[in-house]
């Protein structure tokens, strides 16, 4: 009797140790996010305290006079993400529609894998590719064309004007779009695949065409999942650094033109960091920017969670 008891004691003992070990590792994950947010907030505190509200309303980023405002990079991030989403969402939706309902099984699995590979390409490669192909295309073909034909159209003129250098919000929007589109596509394919076949067959049985089946059955059924996918893709575009740094132009100005060089939060952090000595107000401003970016990313994730959660 005794040995059995002793061994079961030992087992129970190790089970507790094991459980504790697992708990510690889970706590470590919690501590990481906590530390991330805390260190950003404390690092950026100096800037928040010194500039107050003008930190958000001033567009100047002036290292000479040591005055910093986040309006320019913040607008750059938001507008380039918006452009990216306007391009990426229709592209991802179309691709997912093609892969799930139009293409034949074998073909769609090959194309699906290829597009997933595109999602695995490191972001710095997208930046170099954009610099090599998209920037010259915009500078040589798109900008002269737009400048020539739309310069005097009221409302449109200021948006398309600018020196034909090719870098700017539209360029980064395009590159961000092809970067996040494969990711959104992959999630959408999963969501579309989860629609019960019986619903689709009923639609066909009633004489619906493929597009009508898509629009009236699949889209309403998977709306929340699709929105979740889009918001997650948006989170990626918001925080992207390396791809954008190559092609945004990195000028901290605010203006109407979508084709003039601008900057985004992440690219500004990456570029200004090496010139910001430790403990300076400049570094603190960068940390504050990081904190704002973290908040944006958290908000987009919570949004995705809420929208997705409603279905269950």
């Amino acid at each position: 009797m005794t040995p059995v008891l002793r061994s079961s004691h030992r087992k129970a003992g190790f089970d507790t140790v094991f459980h504790g070990l697992l708990l510690i590792c889970s706590l470590l994950v919690l501590a990481m996010l906590g530390g991330l947010i805390l260190l950003m907030a404390t690092g950026g505190w100096q800037a928040f305290a010194r500039f107050g509200l003008s930190f958000f309303t001033k567009a100047s980023w002036n290292p000479v006079r040591d005055v910093y405002g986040v309006l320019a990079p913040l607008l750059g991030t938001l507008v380039s993400t918006l452009i990216a989403m306007l391009i990426a969402v229709p592209m991802a939706f179309g691709t997912a529609f093609w892969l799930t309902y139009i293409a034949s099984g074998r073909f769609s699995s090959i194309v699906g894998t290829t597009i997933q590979l595109l999602a695995a390409v490191p972001s710095i490669i997208f930046g170099m590719w954009g610099f090599q192909t998209i920037v010259p295309f915009i500078a040589r073909d798109v900008q002269p064309f737009l400048n020539h034909h739309f310069r005097h159209v009221p409302g449109l003129g200021p948006i398309v004007s600018g020196p034909p250098v090719g870098t700017g919000l539209v360029t980064s929007g395009i590159v961000l779009a092809v970067m996040v589109a494969p990711f959104i596509t992959a999630v959408m394919v999963d969501v579309f695949g989860a629609v019960p076949p019986m619903l689709r067959e009923s639609a066909y049985g009633l004489g619906a065409t493929r597009w009508e089946m898509m629009r009236k059955i699949v889209v309403p059924w998977s709306r929340n999942g699709m929105i979740g996918a889009i918001v997650l893709g948006m989170g990626r575009a918001l925080g992207e650094t390396m791809a954008v740094t190559f092609i945004i132009g990195n000028v901290t100005t605010v203006g109407w033109s979508l084709f003039a060089p601008r900057s985004t939060v992440a690219s500004l952090i990456a570029l200004q960091f090496p010139e910001s000595p430790e403990g300076s107000i400049r570094l603190s401003s960068l940390m504050a920017l990081g904190f704002i970016l973290m908040l944006l990313s958290c908000v987009s994730l919570v949004l995705a969670r809420c929208l997705r959660g409603k279905r269950q």
Binding site: S26, L28, L30, G43, I125, G207, G235, T241, A266, L301
Partner: protein, 301 residues
């Protein structure tokens, strides 16, 4: 049974004229048909654009990068322009940092994933918080992870180091490993756990030797994909391992890495540095794609 059975009656299009027997689409049916064709065409075009982008990226990489690919590139260390430098120290640095990061992230990630799947099923609020935080870490911009580790490890020690670069990469990979491990363990049938428990095995033994072993393949896939993700990541290394022109295997000193070398050289005005940047980009991309293709091919069987 007296109702007409022609498709026209159900799709809302009328018969045209008196030549009954042959059905012709009405205007509405034509419009619907056209709309369907247009939608199909547009979505095929959208997919083709994505495929074209991938081809264009690969083509750009190959056409710019292959020219500089030689034995000297992978054996010589980085040097001043015109001196025939290579990328050897960057490659070594990348391997060291990614390897160390994997050694740190994999055990912690596995443990956390096990906790979530085995102890954190429904009703465990702590587990759902951990799950949410892991998702949040996964979507956190990678440059912020670099800033975080800079504050945590670089500022207190006073210098950049390869070790802090590895920690930053580990933070990046951790949530990925956690979530895939959890997903894979959840696929293991409960009957397997019950069978183990019925034979008198302790819980840790059941988890490690039954569940984890049967989910081995999926878990390895997750770790490999995390490795591929780390290999191409630049932003977190900018503020942590900084980059280094000389060959260094000392983890406490600044260390070179392939993505950083690409970043530094791509914007340079020397022709041979730009060439090295493209060659490095080719190496990184094909390394990452190779891991991905291997994982996908092996998981299909």
């Amino acid at each position: 049974m007296t109702a007409s059975v022609t498709p026209a009656s159900s799709s809302g299009a009328g018969r045209t004229g008196s030549d009954s027997g042959r059905w012709r689409p009405g205007r509405k049916a034509m419009r619907r048909q056209m709309l369907d064709y247009v939608a199909t065409g547009v979505s095929i075009a959208a997919g083709s654009v994505l495929l074209l982008v991938l081809v264009s990226i690969l083509w750009t990489l190959l056409s710019r990068g292959l020219a500089g690919l030689s034995w000297a590139t992978v054996t010589h260390r980085m040097g001043p322009p015109g001196s025939g430098g290579g990328l050897a120290n960057a490659i070594v640095g990348s391997l060291l940092q990614t390897g160390l990061a994997l050694l740190m992230a994999a055990p912690v990630g596995l443990m956390c994933g096990i906790y979530l799947s085995e102890y954190g099923r429904k009703g465990n609020h702590f587990a759902s918080v951990v799950r949410f935080v892991a998702d949040m870490l996964m979507s956190a911009p990678s440059i912020l992870i670099g800033l975080f580790i800079y504050q945590l490890l670089v500022v207190p020690f006073g210098h950049f180091s390869g070790f802090s670069g590895a920690v930053a990469l580990a933070v990046l990979a951790l949530p990925l490993i956690v979530r895939t491990t959890e997903d894979m363990l959840c696929l293991v049938p409960t009957a397997m756990r019950e069978a183990g428990a019925a034979l008198g095995a302790a819980r840790w033994r059941v988890i490690l030797f039954l569940c984890l072993r049967s989910a081995r393949k999926g878990v390895t896939t997750g770790i490999l994909l995390a490795l591929a993700r780390m290999g191409g990541e630049t932003a977190p290394l900018l503020f942590t391992s900084l980059g280094n022109q000389t060959m260094s295997t000392d983890m406490t000193r600044p260390m070179a890495s392939l993505p950083i070398a690409i970043y530094q050289y791509a914007g340079a005005s020397y022709e041979d540095w730009v060439q090295l940047a493209w060659t490095g980009a080719l190496l990184v991309t094909f390394g990452v794609l190779l891991i991905n293709i291997t994982v996908r091919l092996s998981s299909r069987h």
